[in-house]
């Protein structure tokens, strides 16, 4: 059993865990507002140009988008089970679960990479290759600006998440965590769930508007 000493500013491990978790949740609140600005911008711009946003959305790949969502949802479940396993003493299974989560994260990024590539060929990337013409090309460019900003910023979070998860998998494997001490893993899992929640909102707002029209 590993004994991780409590940092000097804390009285005991309970206080340390409480502080770390509260810190993480505060950070998550902050992240909600980081993404929130983009969602607010999206809402206001879409209110002004509903048609162009619907048309832009029809240019996205709903199949890949759905697959990406499913991948993230499954990965979220895996990492939740991984934390549970560590809490119950199953480090070996947990290591594999965390590694699988990271793999799904890579899978998500790859699929999104494919999307970016095909959008590039279609000429949908503002400022780099935007070849759309037609009545709402200009307003659709705003949609794609927000699309790239939101998915890019989210992708950055996924990338960081994958790196963190890999470190966690290694540390779990090494036996750093046990039933009593697993705060870093718990925090990493919270972060990964946040990434998932953001995508839960990105998916319908980017991929699904104007599909019925």
């Amino acid at each position: 059993m590993s004994t991780t000493p409590t940092a000097v500013q804390f009285d005991d491990a309970v206080q340390q865990r409480e502080a770390a978790t509260l810190g993480m949740w505060t950070f998550i609140s902050t992240e909600i507002l980081f993404f929130g600005v983009l969602f607010a911008a999206y809402t206001l711009c879409r209110t002004r140009f509903p048609e162009a946003f619907a048309e832009g959305s029809r240019h996205t790949d709903v199949l890949l988008g759905t697959a990406e969502t499913a991948v993230l949802l499954i990965s979220s479940c895996l990492v939740a089970v991984a934390v549970r396993e560590v809490q119950l003493g199953g480090q070996r299974i947990a290591t594999w679960l965390i590694a699988a989560t990271a793999a799904l994260g890579v899978c998500f990024l790859t699929m999104h990479g494919f999307e970016y590539v095909s959008e590039y060929h279609e000429g949908l990337v503002p400022a780099i290759r935007y070849t759309q013409s037609g009545p709402s090309a200009g307003q659709m460019e705003i949609f794609f600006c927000l699309y790239y900003f939101i998915t890019g910023f989210h992708g950055l979070h996924v990338t960081i998440g994958v790196i963190v998860l890999l470190v966690m998998a290694r540390r779990t494997h090494r036996g750093d965590f046990d039933q009593d001490y697993h705060t870093p893993l718990e925090m990493s899992a919270l972060y990964w769930h946040l990434v998932d929640i953001v995508w839960i909102f990105v998916f319908p707002l980017i991929y699904l508007i104007g599909r019925s029209g």
């Binding site: 500013q9 502080a19 810190g23 507002l33 206001l44 503002p126 200009g138």
Partner: protein, 546 residues
């Protein structure tokens, strides 16, 4: 200069001349021991040094502006130089001085001491915040070296994105980075206050300074991300020529203003809430009375922090914002003034039946109350839509927010520095000089900024370096006041530095003040308390003891 302790209004408990070997100041002398420290007290000192530098840098810019404005024809600087000067002044003073001022220095130093903790919850993060602050600051200085930026600290689009030819990107990056420093400090404080309180330190036994740190941290954590992303969007639009703000691209410049003020109005409360906390500590100690209406003071801090988020649109009454939105923002702006009014009344009521001594900290605190009240009341004029139409974007606004930020925050900051100086440094400063500086500052301030109210009412727009000659008399008065103000800011720098070497050593509690920070030695040992304190009573119980 000498300090006559018998003269001091406070029955000063003088310490021995022996240095306290366990003091945090003696934990290491090399540069390395400072730059890698995790001690919240040392980090507070690091912040204090950097902030003092930026204060005088921003102050120098202000001095240049006041010099320019003595004559109506703009004889000293070119238009461009003037625009860059006021932008530098605004950016530096807002993000590199006012926002971190009290929280990052006094807050960092005192928060763990006041709640009986050994350190903040995340000491390494705390040091990291300081490095972020320095990095952001370097970007801003680099921007100045490369020729400055001329957008004003508000970065309004489309000017900042498409029309300005100056170093917008560098400044935006600098502010973006310093925003993270602010978020991390806020996060650290929130967790510290929640998780690190000593036994018996219940929520309603917290000193008001701690409550104000809590309120301010909420604002930092919830508002700053909005600024950061908005600036990122500005950067993107400027860099790539695509975006959502520029009307030429189909964007909406008012969208930028909404996002910007969603942060920047609450940012004003980041500046003033800590000042309110400091004033509450200073006044109770000098009056030797319990604060009047403690729970109302707490609720008004929280009220200001929360309602302060709902009023940003009052910066936009003439911007082309819808009239209906203006109505909503106007009533909310009036409502947010109520908790501020409560606080002024409560400070006044605290004096009743007190046993008041007028040391330098108390003079600063009283100056704060008076100037804050004048600033707050003129804020009501600006919340009144029909008056705001005339007054906004004039010197009336300039005077208003300087009364709040300089008259309010800076007075309180300096008051706090004086009050806790013995605790921080273990030394006593010259009381006579300190009182002299406080009084000079009060008059210098009023002479500088009161004429600006009149200028604004007469219709002089802000950010003008040339102006019609009828405004000259008031401008000259203001510039004259600025000279006095500048001297009064240099004075503390001189006598406080002097005290570091020649000041008599202070005892643990020279003011006989309440509060856990006074129960440990001056300067405190590295881990703050030899024994973790247990709290059995509420704050400010001055009238209970002889």
């Amino acid at each position: 200069m000498s300090v006559n302790v018998a003269d001091s209004p406070f029955p000063t408990e003088q310490g021995t001349d022996e240095p306290n070997p366990e003091s945090y100041l003696d934990a290491g002398y090399g540069l390395r021991s400072w730059l890698t420290t995790h001690d919240h007290k040392r980090i507070a000192i690091l912040y204090a040094l950097a902030i003092t530098f930026f204060f005088f840098a921003g102050g120098l810019a202000a001095a240049l502006m006041r010099l320019e404005l003595i004559s109506p024809n703009g004889s000293l600087m070119s238009a461009e130089a003037y625009n860059k000067t006021f932008t530098f002044h605004g950016v530096v003073m807002v993000w590199f001085f006012l926002i971190p001022s009290i929280p990052a220095t006094l807050g960092n130093f005192l928060l763990p001491l006041m709640i009986g903790a050994r350190d903040v919850a995340f000491p390494r993060l705390n040091l990291f915040s300081w490095y972020l602050y320095i990095t952001g600051g370097l970007f801003t200085i680099a921007c100045l070296l490369f020729g400055g930026v001329d957008t004003g600290w508000t970065f309004y689009t489309p000017f900042s994105t498409m029309f300005s030819n100056s170093n917008v990107m560098l400044t935006v990056v600098g502010v973006f980075i310093v925003g993270f420093s602010s978020i991390l400090t806020g996060l650290n404080f929130i967790v510290t206050i929640h998780a690190m309180r000593a036994h018996g330190m219940t929520w309603f036994r917290l000193p008001l300074f701690v409550w104000s740190m809590y309120g301010v941290s909420l604002v930092m954590v919830l508002a700053t991300p909005v600024l950061a992303m908005t600036l990122a969007l500005i950067g993107l639009e400027r860099l790539l020529g695509v975006g959502i703000f520029d009307p030429a691209l189909g964007g909406d410049p008012l969208l930028f203003q909404h996002f910007f003020w969603f942060y920047s109005h609450p940012a004003v409360y980041i500046m003033i809430l800590p000042a309110m906390g400091v004033a509450s500590e200073l006044i109770t100690a000098a009056v030797r009375r319990r604060i009047f209406g403690y729970s109302f003071m707490v609720y008004s801090i929280l009220g200001i922090a929360v309602i302060g988020f709902l009023v940003w649109g009052h910066h936009m009454f003439v911007s082309g914002q819808s009239m209906y939105a203006s109505i909503v923002f106007s009533i909310l702006s009036f409502i947010v003034a109520v908790p501020s009014a409560i606080k002024v009344f409560n400070w006044t009521a605290t004096l009743y039946k007190g046993d008041i001594t007028f040391g330098a900290p108390m003079l600063y605190a009283l100056g704060f109350v008076g100037l804050f009240m004048l600033g707050g009341l003129t804020g009501l004029f600006l919340a009144a839509t029909a008056l705001d139409v005339n007054l906004t974007d004039t010197y009336f606004v300039v005077a208003h927010f300087h009364y709040i930020m300089v008259g309010g925050s800076v007075m309180a900051y300096l008051g706090g520095i004086h009050f806790w100086w013995p605790k921080i440094t273990g030394r006593l400063y010259s009381e006579a000089w300190a009182r002299f500086a406080a009084i000079v500052m009060f008059f210098g301030f009023n002479l500088t900024f009161f004429p600006q109210y009149l200028l604004g009412y007469e219709g002089m727009p802000r950010r003008y370096h040339v102006y019609p000659p009828q405004f000259q008399v008031l401008n000259v008065l203001s510039s004259a006041g600025a000279t006095i103000l500048a001297v009064s800011y240099l004075l503390p720098l001189a006598y406080l530095l002097w005290s570091l070497r020649y000041g008599p050593r202070a005892g643990a509690n020279p003011w006989r003040a309440k509060g856990l920070e006074w129960q440990t030695s001056s300067p405190p040992p590295v881990h703050n308390f030899d024994q973790t304190p247990t709290v059995t009573e509420g704050p400010y119980l001055y009238d209970e003891s002889p």
